[in-house]
């Protein structure tokens, strides 16, 4: 098994944190996004969409999409549990995981993609749209702060994959100066808790 990834990219980080929480050790290989190695034929054979991370399984086949990879590992090793233990818990955790993806990570990513120098020339950038993404992300952090007033973690009272997505999404916001505000005390409390876990350094 091998995980193809890139240290600075957000989606690979989600899998790295997940694996660290599980205590699972998978060899990794860097694919250099800066030199667009993910768009070269050798990698595209592995993942036709050209994205990271990709998990190469022992039988030589490849599995892409960070959450699909996480789910696969959870099936192989259910504890510590990160996706939920029964149908209702799984649904609530998935709901929150998707909200973190759609409302936080996609917005901080949209801000980065459309305004950063890294993506200049790689994709058609729409700076104004990037600003809208940034403002949406900022509003979402306000909302998240309110939600975290009545519970410890994003999906409930224990740490789950939703916290991983939230952490990675918020950290990625730093690339375009999206920050937790001093008055967002619930969000800051949560952030301190999840970012001080050893897995956050993965």
């Amino acid at each position: 098994m091998k995980l193809y990834e890139f240290t600075q990219a957000p989606n690979p980080r989600r899998v790295r944190i997940f694996l660290a929480e599980k205590g699972i050790n998978v060899p990794t290989e860097q694919v250099n996004l800066a030199s667009a190695d993910n768009r070269k034929p050798e990698f595209v054979k592995r993942n036709p969409m050209g994205t990271l991370p990709v998990l190469e399984l022992d039988d030589g086949t490849n599995l892409a999409e960070s959450v699909a990879i996480c789910r696969y590992f959870e099936e192989l090793q259910p504890e510590p549990n990160l996706l939920g233990r029964d149908a209702k818990e799984r649904a609530v955790i998935e709901m929150w995981q998707r909200r973190m993806e759609l409302e936080v990570l996609m917005m901080t990513a949209g801000s980065f993609r459309n305004t950063s120098d890294f993506f200049k020339g790689r994709i058609p950038q729409v700076k104004e749209y990037g600003e809208i993404c940034k403002n949406a992300a900022i509003k979402r952090l306000e909302w998240l702060n309110t939600e975290l007033a009545n519970r410890e973690f994003i999906a409930g009272n224990r740490y789950t994959i939703a916290d991983i997505t939230g952490l990675v999404g918020i950290d990625f916001g730093r690339t375009t100066q999206i920050r937790i505000q001093p008055e967002q005390t619930n969000l800051q409390r949560w952030y301190n808790a999840v970012s001080s876990r050893p897995s956050a350094k993965a």
Binding site: V67, E94, I132, E147
Partner: protein
């Protein structure tokens, strides 16, 4: 239990197709999204993000996010199976589902939001960006045609949730963006006829 639904919207549609495939009969309440009834304080209590669909359980718990709801219903009603029967199958189906969401569903949704008059007062629209997103979706359909040369359905040899995401995206594109499937894309056309011909496609 009850599903809060809106006939024309794509996310409720993917859940309706799923529910139809499962042969489930779940009471359904329409929420008038044109009149913004999904943004009232009353509805926001059910889903603070204001989106549809929402599944309200008998104990009052509300589950939002179409895929979370579908996966929950599959846990209660495992057959016919749509999310996968073992870890590898589940991972593969999820991978393809996400590919369909990211490459088709997302771009078509953004094309709609940025070009359709309905959203002119709801968001700041970028017509060029919307047009570019539609082109992205069309390129992805060409790519999908290639992928479907070697298999009958999107995630493999049987119909799964991945097919539902793609079909729903295409229906929404056809209804709102005049998206047309190029008949020269023979594998895509074959697949589309197959999934559209299932009774669930009319849900």
């Amino acid at each position: 239990m009850k599903i809060y639904d809106a006939t024309l919207a794509p996310n409720p549609r993917r859940l309706r197709i799923f529910v139809a495939e499962k042969g489930l009969n779940i009471p359904n309440e329409q929420v008038d999204i044109f009149a913004g009834k999904n943004r009232t304080p009353e509805f926001l209590k059910k889903n603070p993000a204001g989106g549809l669909p929402v599944l309200e359980l008998d104990d009052g718990t509300c589950i939002a996010e179409s895929v979370a709801i579908a996966r929950y219903l599959e846990a209660l009603n495992p057959e016919p199976n749509l999310f996968g029967r073992n870890p590898r199958e589940q991972a593969d189906i999820e991978m393809w589902s996400r590919r369909m969401e990211l490459s088709l569903f997302g771009p078509i949704g953004r094309a709609f939001q940025n070009t359709n008059p309905m959203f002119a007062t709801r968001i700041k629209q970028f017509q060029d960006y919307g047009a570019a997103q539609l082109e992205t979706a069309k390129r992805q359909l060409e790519w999908l045609d290639g992928q479907l040369a070697s298999k009958e359905f999107i995630a493999g040899s049987r119909y799964t949730m991945a097919d539902i995401h793609a079909l729903t995206a295409i229906i929404f594109g056809q209804q709102t963006l005049d998206l047309r499937l190029d008949p020269a894309l023979k594998n895509l056309t074959r697949w589309h006829q197959s999934v559209s011909g299932r009774p669930s496609a009319k849900a």
